[in-house]
């Protein structure tokens, strides 16, 4: 089980990095999305894999998963969305200003 989770996170992170290292703007957006998924999952599993023990207190439940990584990841998911939207809009405006699909386009270029 542990290896399955680990390799899935590794593949997502690696794919995300690979896409982000490219030159195309949309690749950057996609890569950012994949890397966000990988990082969120990475932080989440720092609380270990405990099935069926949601951190919701009740007299019946005795075992609980670690709530702290969950709280951290919850806000990270929402912020990740905002950042992805920001990168996307940057890509849109860069294309609007320069008509090129290059993350390194500068104002010097026509």
């Amino acid at each position: 089980m542990e290896w399955l989770v680990a390799t899935a996170i590794g593949v997502c992170a690696g794919s995300g990095i690979f896409l982000m290292l490219g030159r195309r703007t949309f690749d950057l957006v996609l890569g950012f999305g994949l890397l966000s998924h990988a990082v969120n999952c990475f932080i989440f599993v720092m609380g270990r894999l405990i099935p069926g023990a949601a951190p919701i207190l009740s007299p019946a439940a005795t075992v609980h998963a670690d709530p702290l990584p969950q709280a951290l990841v919850l806000t990270a998911i929402v912020i990740g969305f905002a950042m992805q939207a920001l990168v996307l809009v940057l890509a849109m405006t860069a294309f609007g200003a320069h008509a090129e699909d290059d993350v390194d386009v500068t104002d010097k270029d026509p």
């Binding site: 089980m1 990095i17 982000m20 949309f26 609980h64 702290l68 806000t75 905002a82």
Partner: protein, 936 residues
């Protein structure tokens, strides 16, 4: 006593307020600046009367008590005396600048604001009672002077001059910081009054010479002393009022002040004496010689300033009460006559348009008032009677003769006396040049422009000249009390009094003065100096900078170029290298025993990996890639749900929905694939990405196979009892770590605002190769469904919100549910429809939400609890039953509103652009673009 903190803060406050005023209200700006400075003079006078009685006014606030650093102001005689000088000259220069400055209202405002900031920094410097505070203000004066020298920033000379100024004084600032920290460590306190009592301990410490060298280097760089004197000539690119203030009375005097301030602690030592006497004498002679060879008025004055400051440094190096008094007296006299000389140079420049001696002459009749003023301040500069400069130069010569013989070996003392005489001779000669050539030499000049400047300029000059004359003729009125004030706190024993006067009988100093005047006049008449060339130390300085600049230039190419991919790769490779030892440990640990995986896990694993890799391979087919990315997100959501994180699962699935919609909305504003350049080196990318993936995998396995050891038990124990919530995740978000959350919703809001601003301003381009399917552009079915769903979404959202403290839900999730409803409406009905129906805008919602969150936090303060402390109780409501109520719920309302506002704003702006373009395309008779994309 509030006068003391008010004095340095007043100019800063005035600068801030004036900065907010529109530049066209220039009379108001100048008036307020003058009023502020006038008030500062009054404050300084008030402090001075107290200090003159020997009392030291203190004002201290804790700043970094852990590091023993305090915001400690201390008004002793030396500090207030200089503060008075700074305020008065600042006031005079500000008046002068109002008459002098030409150019746009914006520029005038900028100059006034920065002059005020500089004045505040200078006042803080002289009044600081804590070494670290002193360093802070010292750096502030350097920074403000950088901006002021760089004032005409279109001008290459100004930029270069400012850069050299900043580099040299910045170097001095660093050495001052090092020395101050070292001294603080040795003495156990940064308090200056404490240092004065610890003198013996400090001087006995083996590192004491380092401290001395640090302070002396700082003073020498700031006061433009040999070998750092070249920056002052470069700084002459500043506007003349700036030079009149910074380069005569304030900035350059900071070095002298530092030496005088530290002399009781660091002085009375060989290293101190030798370094200061050496640098001072060299500066005195070299500065005077370079002034003699200059033809530019301001450059001549700069050389003269170096020379006069050299004399003060030399006197402080002699380290006797009489010499220190002479240095302080000369400091005062020099500040006023040199400020006036700079103003004169500026007036001549404006009247004639020429600043070079070779193009000037015969101005005496055209500018009579200026000529009279010149006849007062220039003799003072040369040290001629009956002006202030004469008295101070006599004092200096007497000290050199007496103390030089006492503390130095005879031969060196002789050399010192000769060098002093030589510098003084040069001083007489260059002053004669500065006086004779512009006003009297050559034929008489006339013209409409050749006239005395406006009273705004002549009055400050006349005030300086009057003081210079009065200080010489009747020193007991204005000169002696000021000097007595300065002497309190300097290394002058109480009661040692110097009698200022023009005539002390025929003594050695008078004879030397007469010889100097005669020799100087002869030199002026007989020698035609060649124009000065570059300063050797400056050449050495720029050479030493060259390799640094070359290195910086190289930083712009290769892997360090400002390109995203290579820079990111560098980061990743560094991270991988840094983790190399960890790799070793991970591999050495071997494959740990693992728990078995159910078939469903294998299925999800396969789905996630396939989707992630397929995203990479199908990245050119954007629609498919977006869907594959969503698959990864959905698998992640299932993963969260399975491993006990219902809140996360909900959040993830909702965000996935919104972000997929968003990505699709943006599709036809993205560039067509044809316009893509070559991909960068594929193998390096693969290696970096692969290495990163392997590293993450190994770390995760390692973590998952070690037992948990976290903060979980604490949160689980305290959640219900302390915060009244059973859903621990929500309690952490809105209560235990609510400050984090406050920061996070702020980030969310900022990102949404940036997006709105970007789309509001920038041009957006529709990709030319996008083709739309024929038919309606708004899907009818979705339109109907979305409208029906919206009330349901709102209901669910409120439900999720209310139960959030005890069951999965809460502000984030509830907000996202509303956002999904809005997104569907947006897709179905269009943003124009939505904007008509939705009576609140995203920005307003975010503002209200953030406001609620912050106010909830502040509400804890009246109860003497820290910011964001929460309280909870249970209330009984009819029909609804027991309702647990926590102040954290109110905070969660803030979160809820910010999330709705931000996501709605992002969706509406991007969707709005999409529709605008579509409508535009329809008007142009072209096929409308839509949300799909043809395969490249």
């Amino acid at each position: 006593m509030l006068t003391l903190p008010l004095l340095p803060l007043l100019p800063f406050l005035a600068a801030f307020c004036l900065h907010l005023l529109p530049a066209r209200r220039s009379n108001l700006i100048v008036g307020s600046a003058l009023a502020a400075l006038g008030f500062a003079v009054a404050c300084a006078l008030d402090l001075a009367t107290t200090a003159l009685q020997g009392q030291v006014t203190r004002f201290a606030l804790p700043w970094l008590p852990q590091a023993n650093v305090h915001f400690d102001l201390r008004a002793d005689g030396l500090g207030t005396g200089l503060a008075l000088l700074v305020c008065i000259v600042a006031l005079l220069v500000m008046v002068f600048a109002h008459g002098y400055l030409r150019g746009s209202a914006e520029d005038r405002k900028r100059l006034i604001v920065w002059l005020l900031i500089f004045t505040g920094a200078m006042l803080g410097l002289v009044l600081a009672g804590d070494l670290i505070l002193l360093v802070v203000f010292w750096e502030l004066t350097s920074l403000a002077s950088f901006v002021l020298v760089n004032f005409r920033d279109r001008d290459t000379d100004a930029r270069q001059g400012a850069r050299i100024t900043l580099l040299v004084t910045g170097f001095g600032g660093l050495s001052l910081l090092a020395a101050a920290v070292l001294l603080g460590q040795i003495a156990g306190s940064f308090e200056i009054s404490h240092l004065l009592t610890e003198r013996a301990t400090i001087q006995a410490h083996p590192l004491f010479p380092l401290v001395q060298v640090g302070f002396i280097l700082a003073a020498l760089t700031k006061s433009a002393q040999f070998p750092f004197h070249f920056w002052l000539a470069r700084a002459m690119a500043a506007p003349t009022p700036v030079s009149a203030f910074l380069h005569s009375a304030a900035l350059v005097k900071a070095g002298i002040f530092l030496l005088a301030r530290m002399q009781p602690v660091l002085g009375d030592d060989y290293l101190w004496a030798w370094m200061l006497i050496g640098a001072g004498t060299a500066s005195f002679v070299i500065g005077a010689l370079s002034a003699l060879r200059q033809t530019d008025l301001k450059a001549l004055l700069a050389g003269s300033t170096v020379s006069h400051l050299g004399l003060m440094v030399l006197l402080l190096g002699l380290d006797s009460p009489a010499a220190t008094l002479a240095a302080l007296a000369h400091l005062l006299a020099h500040a006023l006559f040199k400020a006036c000389a700079f103003m004169l140079a500026g007036s001549i420049d404006h009247a004639t348009g020429v600043r070079d001696l070779r193009g000037l002459g015969g101005l005496a009749r055209g500018m009579p008032l200026s000529f009279i003023i010149a006849c007062v301040v220039l003799p003072a500069m040369a040290g001629l009677p009956p002006f202030s400069g004469f008295i101070t130069k006599e004092l200096a010569l007497t000290s050199v003769l007496q103390d030089g013989w006492q503390i130095l070996p005879e031969l060196v003392a002789l050399l010192l006396v000769l060098a002093t005489l030589l510098g003084a001779v040069f001083g007489v000669a260059y002053t004669l040049r500065l006086w004779w050539i512009p006003f009297l030499a050559g034929s008489e000049r006339s013209g409409p422009a050749i006239a005395d400047p406006s009273p705004w300029q002549t009055v400050p000059m006349a005030i300086c000249a009057t003081w210079t004359l009065l200080a010489g003729v009747a020193p007991e009125w204005l000169f002696s009390p000021w000097l007595a004030l300065l002497a309190i706190g300097a290394a002058v024993p109480a009661g040692s009094h110097v009698h200022l006067g023009l005539w002390h009988g025929l003594n050695a100093a008078v004879v030397m003065s007469l010889c100097v005047i005669a020799a100087g006049t002869a030199l002026f008449l007989l020698w035609r100096p060649t124009p000065a060339g570059l300063v050797y130390t400056e050449i050495a300085f720029s050479r030493s900078l060259r390799p640094l600049l070359a290195l910086a230039a190289r930083g712009d190419s290769g892997p360090w170029a400002p390109r995203l991919g290579p820079s990111l790769q560098v980061v990743i490779w560094v991270a991988l290298l840094a983790m190399l030892p960890a790799f070793g440990v991970l591999v050495a640990n071997g494959i740990p025993s693992v728990s078995p995986a159910p078939p469903l896990a294998w299925l999800l694993w396969g789905l996630a990996i396939t989707a992630a890799l397929a995203t990479v391979f199908s990245r050119h087919d954007r629609l498919l890639a977006i869907l594959l990315l969503a698959v990864v997100g959905v698998v992640l959501s299932v993963h969260f749900a399975h491993f006990s994180a219902p809140d996360l699962a909900l959040t993830q699935i909702l965000v996935e929905l919104v972000s997929t919609l968003l990505l699709m909305l943006s599709l036809h504003f993205l560039p067509p694939l044809a316009a893509v350049g070559n991909d960068r080196c594929l193998y390096w990318r693969l290696a970096a990405a692969g290495g990163f993936g392997v590293l993450i995998t190994l770390v995760v396995v390692q973590v998952l196979t070690t037992p948990a050891d976290g903060l979980a038990p604490w949160f689980l124990q305290h959640s219900l009892h302390d915060a009244g919530g059973a859903n621990v995740v929500n309690v952490i978000i809105v209560d235990f770590r609510s400050l984090d959350t406050l920061g996070e919703i702020t980030v969310l809001g900022v990102a949404a605002l940036v997006i709105a601003a970007l789309l509001g301003r920038a041009r957006v381009r529709v990709a030319p190769r996008v083709r739309a399917p024929a038919g309606a552009d708004l899907p009818l079915l979705l339109a109907v469904v979305a409208r029906l769903l919206m009330p349901v979404a709102l209901l669910i959202s409120v439900h999720l919100f209310l139960r959030g403290h005890n069951l999965p839900g809460g502000g984030f999730i509830a907000g996202l549910v509303v956002a999904v409803g809005v997104a569907l409406l947006q897709m179905g009905r269009g943003s124009a429809w939505l904007a008509r129906r939705l009576h609140v805008d995203g920005v307003g919602l975010m503002a209200v939400g953030l406001g609620i969150a912050v106010l909830t936090g502040i509400a804890a303060l009246p109860f003497a609890r820290p910011f964001l402390t929460s309280a909870h109780t249970t209330v009984h409501l009819p029909l609804l039953g027991e309702l647990p109520l926590a102040s954290a719920t109110l905070f969660d309302v803030g979160v809820y509103l910010v999330v709705i506002g931000a996501v709605t704003l992002i969706l509406q702006r991007i969707g709005g652009v999409a529709e605008e373009r579509r409508a535009g395309a329809r008007r142009d008779g072209r096929k409308p673009a839509a949300y799909s994309m043809s395969r490249a």
